[in-house]
Symmetry: C2
Subunit: 341 residues, 2 copies
DNA sequence: TTGTAGGCGTTATCAT
DNA sequence: ATGATAACGCCTACAA
């Protein structure tokens, strides 16, 4: 049987209350008793019991607030499913979830949501815009004992507990590795990114280029276009690119806009001789994989991102467990027609 | 706040004890009170609270027994890691794990372990040999209220609660799909299976052939050899195969023996023109991927298999939760050099 | 057949 | 600064 607070109290001839005060740093304990308790706790190998903590925590009615830039972005569908699963599992512990969503990268809007949610929550999960005002807000929440975890996108130098997301660079590396295998290592490549202003997209391209350089010297990145994550824009830009560089025989789609890119390729009658690799697994991409226009797509475990993040918030609230790592990086998954699931 | 037993008792003007009896089917309750309690429980939307149950369950000192045919099989390393993680998380609930391992498919040995473990455990997780005597034993455990979950391999018509494992057929399909992408859909293929007597291996081949037939008509499966999951045997058989069928330019390794197969290929100086795809992610396979001899490997989430299974056992013991599905199938993961992790 | 009460481990409140 | 006690939700032994 594991060691309990009660046992520590008994071996020290001290009340459970005092032991609790020491072990949870609530103060108001004489230095020597504190010392005694800490040492015997260590000696006996005390580990707080989650079930007990959880039961006691039900009284507190904790709320986890979540802010996602998810509207109009199918990628987040699975993130939200993961959140939902975790939510189900932790309602037993009296913890609720308050989810706010928004559309597009407007700092003002996100600040507004933050203010709106602040006095209703005990923990914040956010998909932050990389802006100083947002960082300030995160730090402020943190100081007022609303701890923060960032999900999917991170911000530098903030007081967040940790970040849960993917390794964008590795995602790009994997895309290039896949393309290397599918082409025999020789290709003229067009890259369709979302925006050169978005860090994650750039990191993917950096990873892609790295593998090009180190492993596939005959890969030639001929052009990079921006889709602005919009299918129409993607369509137009891809058309232009294919006209300008007819030698292109492979395309790496870094972000959204896959449908537009593929439409331009098929309209040009090039779907047989251009190999396309994409990112993430939206309904459109699934369709394009089924049709054979896209050969493979690199995913980033969206469900797991949502699930894990909520679970870490739960652990913190109930057991004051601070995530052991600052970065929690999910896997890059390669999906082809046969393992789409 | 969620509904509790206490609340149901109060609204029914009945003691908590009686409500507990009804809700947990302990009998000895008048039919009409039972009816009353059940209906109000349903009306109020009662859901048992895990934290409460778990805390009460600590007194019971439950033990989960696990029997794995894992010795000398690196695949299980990650399964056991997943089990370990789950174990850590549930010790808080006073549940322990008792792991027994064995080597090779000897029915007698597994029966022996089953007898040895029986009176020490409250739940059984097993990687069963497909034999009637084992099935009988599983049914017997189940009747004596030691419920069973099968992991990685399943047995038909047994009283197991459910099975956690991979979809071997899809694994073979994915391997073929990958090979299709890497070869342009034209190849002379040699298949190196473990044993034609092992169900999972055969299912992989069935899946592989299915995609051949339906999607890659120019794929030709020229030869199938058995490695008996042994590298030396794999080496010898592969040598013979390559001599007999020099046209072979792709190999699908279904089970263990990858090192032996690859050794034969490199010794024949054919590593540049034979594309090799394997299964699972052992240290040898990682090495061969790094060297470029193997191009891709199809994995089956071993960690998740271990983790999930223990968690389901936990849920059953603490909350009598019977798995909602009879089959819990993990994903087939494609790993190449860049996303090995 | 039903009710009562104490305990699982932790925490919060009130009293000392 | 410390102790005592009740409570979280559930289970169980015992009493009625």
């Amino acid at each position: 049987m594991a060691v309990t607070i009660k046992q520590i109290a008994e071996t020290c001839n001290i009340s459970r209350g005092t032991v609790d005060r020491v072990l949870n740093n609530r103060g108001k304990v004489k230095a020597e008793t504190e010392e005694l308790i800490r040492s015997t706790a260590a000696k006996l190998g005390y580990k707080p019991n989650l079930a007990g903590k959880a039961l006691a925590a039900t009284k507190k009615n904790y709320v986890i607030g979540i802010i996602l830039i998810s509207e109009g972005n199918k990628f987040y569908d699975d993130v939200i499913k993961g959140i939902g699963q975790a939510e189900q599992e932790i309602t037993d512990y009296g913890i609720r979830i308050l989810l706010k969503t928004m559309k597009g990268y407007q700092v003002e809007k996100q600040l507004e949501l933050l203010d709106e949610i602040k006095d209703k929550i005990n923990f914040l999960i956010i998909n932050p815009i990389n802006d100083d005002r947002i960082i300030d807000k995160i730090n402020q929440f943190s100081e007022e004992n609303i701890k923060v975890i960032t999900i999917n996108t991170d911000v530098e130098n903030s007081a967040r507990l940790c970040h849960v997301g993917c390794d964008y660079k590795k995602s790009g590396e994997t895309a290039c590795g896949m393309l290397g295998l599918l082409t025999g290592g020789e290709a003229n490549i067009g890259i369709a990114t979302g925006s050169v202003k978005i860090l994650g997209h750039n990191q993917r391209i950096i990873g892609f280029n790295k593998v090009c350089r180190e492993k596939y010297p005959k890969f030639q990145v001929t052009d990079i276009i921006e889709t602005n994550d919009d299918d129409v824009c993607a369509f137009i830009e891809t058309q232009k690119m294919l006209q300008k560089y007819p030698a292109i025989n492979a395309i790496y789609i870094v972000a959204a806009g896959a449908y537009g890119v593929c439409k331009a390729v098929t309209e040009a009658g090039r779907e047989k001789d251009i190999i396309i690799i994409s990112s993430d697994k939206t309904p459109e991409i699934i369709k394009l994989l089924r049709e054979g226009t896209i050969k493979a797509t690199i995913c980033q475990q969206p469900w797991t991102q949502g699930y894990k993040t909520v679970n870490m918030a739960f652990q913190y609230l109930v057991s004051s467990v601070v995530p052991e790592k600052e970065l929690h990086i999910v896997k890059n998954e390669i999906k082809i027609l046969q393992n789409l699931k």
